[in-house]
Symmetry: C2
Subunit: 425 residues, 2 copies
């Protein structure tokens, strides 16, 4: 085991508490024993105490030790973790990892090494903690063409958005609260900028569609700029704002993939995913709609996922647990070509003709308006700017961008338009 | 493949449409080909046409054919299906089945045969159709002590109860509607009497707790006697009525298992499982709460589950897919010793002292009353009987039964008390 932080401690505790149960459930085929633990600092005070003779600062020694059969990578990051995983695969030792960034950004190299050395990489813990969505897609749904995957797969963002919704908090306040409760890390950037969720979606999409999705081509937006105002308007219109990760297969086989804060009908089952819980809804051509729901992070759930991989690796090396490409023509849809309906909020000076001006531009681009919403703040009926919401019919995002660039030239605009997609799943 | 009805046709279609995809996803390790199909009637007109040279009426010939590696049992029932599965196992041919009744009632013999011949039985399709709950418990949650399993695992019942709730239909009307829509079979008895759900719960509980649960010791009640009145009262009190299957582990290791229509808070995530969908919520000591949701039956979803088992069996015979007992002291809690709070509806003559009489009996048995509810029908304020609901504090079911037997002696009662458990999950 490399890394002995929250998840590593959880694995240690789980094996201590339930190791015998696991052995008996597998009738002795899975006897899991931690032989060595690589850490950065031998002196650090830790949550659980492991025998000091197991600890080492020499990561490479895990791979070299002939008594070690499997490598559990829990270091995080894409540097030292990459070296460790690569050297383990070269040595033919199966790897279990929960490192989504590593696989989403450097999976190309690692999965190729895995195939070359016929050595599996298991990564159930990398996506949605305790939810068995990797196994779900790779095994349970193997008979299905996957039509869509829609996930709420970053608990921190989901918690922050929920608090902004329920309590009307601003983004910063909600973030501070999440930090205080341990739901956001000291450096929250990957959680709130959408990339943590995007990394997971890249892995799910790659497994579902058979080609490794290039993270540089993926559209990702975070929740940092979501305002309580848009959340309130969403609610008044029957929606909730969720950080949604979508992987959608088009009829022609190309794939839309995006992660961004989106509007979702309050009636959608994903709308009731609260707090730090995660959920992944998968549509397959035979299975129809299915949903996996559970804790998306945390010590216990992540350890549970790691252990399921360890047991599977111990029982039988499944060479295709990892990623076997099965499509060479996999192609992503450029974000400008993806279509949904939209919520657009314009901040405008309140003068006659504003609506007409904006509507004229939209009409010129063939964008239909399905509704408008522009409540007046009861406390400031004479404020000299107003928020004007347009709900727009489905059109390609590129067309919308072009139209909005023109609207921005109008002198009645006092700020940039705010856009949310309205997703119907 | 034995049996070529709805599910068999689905498997045939799935392999035809997605067989190449499955082969490429597994990099050639899973090449699935149907070699023989045993049917009862060669002449019967079927949904899909299979080459006539594959059809046979001789079930035993499937096992005898040396070109057949795996047996897919889709006959149903516990007679001929038992013979087929047993002979396949004796011949060392892995079995895939969706037959929950067979495994729940005759699993003792079949799982023993499987172990003796080191030949697996796969049965993902037996529980909740397209939802991968067998794999979920056997593999994904293998590191967890399972605290509880709560399932809505009979779509027919769930549909009927939902229609009774939404539209105020009576049980028979709702059943007729379900039949018309194909959500209930011609013979609906196993669905509505609770045993279909109970069979599934027996399998889930056995896998989770390591001993084969004896179906004769399981408490099962169906939905046939649920009335629109109780559903309405439930709603007024903040509950929905669901056919719930529960497997609950006590601290001392013994297991409560029961299937019965129960009250569930409208806020519980299981309350929003609508129509013929199924959901299984599992609590584990490390993973916490997780939920699996999807279509619980139907051609496509069930075929999807069968295929996932077929692929797994083709890739690697997992000898413990089946049932490996790992507890010899497994014990069920007698139903009289299980405790919840309760909704009890008494039909009484409306005379002074009725409430006092009933409350006195309950008090004598130390049963606390947490609330009462006795709305008057606005159209019949002078009706000569009333429905009086008591919400009772948690007590053992046996104590409640004894108390209610005494209440029934009171001359103010005009019918038998109606009892629902209130489950807090």
């Amino acid at each position: 085991m490399a890394g002995f932080g929250t998840v590593g401690s959880g694995v240690w505790k789980l094996l201590k508490e339930n190791g015998d149960l696991i052995t008996s459930r597998s009738h002795g085929t899975a006897r899991l024993e931690i032989r060595r633990i690589a850490v950065r600092d031998l002196e650090k005070k830790r949550e659980v105490e492991a025998p000091t003779n197991l600890l080492t600062t020499d990561c490479a020694s895990l791979v070299d030790d002939p008594s070690v059969d499997l490598i559990l990578e829990l270091i995080g990051g894409t540097g030292a973790a990459f070296e460790l995983v690569a050297s383990a695969l070269r040595a033919g030792k199966p790897v279990i990892t929960g490192n989504k960034a590593l696989l989403a950004e450097r999976g190309q190299e690692l999965f190729a090494l895995a195939r070359k050395h016929h050595t599996p990489i298991y990564f159930e813990a990398a996506v949605a903690g305790g939810i068995p969505i990797i196994k779900g897609i790779q095994e349970s749904l193997i008979g299905n063409r996957i039509r869509s995957i829609a996930g709420i797969i970053n608990g921190t963002s989901n918690y922050i958005l929920q608090r902004m919704t329920e309590a009307g908090l601003g983004y910063s306040e909600a973030l501070q609260e999440a930090k205080k409760l341990g739901y956001a890390e000291a450096d929250e950037s990957l959680d709130v900028n959408g990339w943590d969720a995007a990394h997971k979606a890249i892995l799910l999409g790659s497994l579902a569609h058979g080609f490794l999705i290039d993270h540089r081509q993926v559209y990702v937006r975070g929740i940092e700029k979501v305002t309580p105002l848009d959340i309130r308007f969403a609610s008044e219109l029957g929606y909730v704002v969720k950080l949604l990760s979508l992987v959608i297969a088009r009829e022609n086989g190309s794939i839309e993939i995006r992660t961004q804060p989106s509007f979702l009908s309050k009636k959608n089952i994903l709308a009731s995913v609260h707090g730090v819980f995660n959920a992944v809804a998968v549509k397959g051509d035979f299975v129809g709609q299915s949903l996996f729901y559970g804790p998306g992070a945390g010590q216990g759930p992540t350890a549970s996922a790691v252990i399921s991989d360890l047991v599977e690796a111990a029982r039988s090396s499944h060479p295709d647990r990892g990623f076997l490409p099965h499509r060479i023509d996999g192609e992503l849809v450029p974000i400008d070509d993806t279509s949904t309906s939209y919520y657009v909020r314009f901040s405008v000076t309140d003068r006659p003709g504003v609506i007409a001006d904006i509507a004229t531009v939209l009409a010129r681009h063939q964008i239909g308006i399905s509704g408008t919403h522009s409540p007046v703040d009861p406390d400031h009926p004479d404020a000299d700017f107003v928020d004007m919401v347009f709900l727009l019919h489905t059109c390609p995002f590129g067309v919308l961008k072009t139209a909005l660039a023109e609207v921005e030239q109008l002198d009645c605009l006092t700020g940039r338009p705010v856009v949310f997609r309205i997703e119907t799943l």
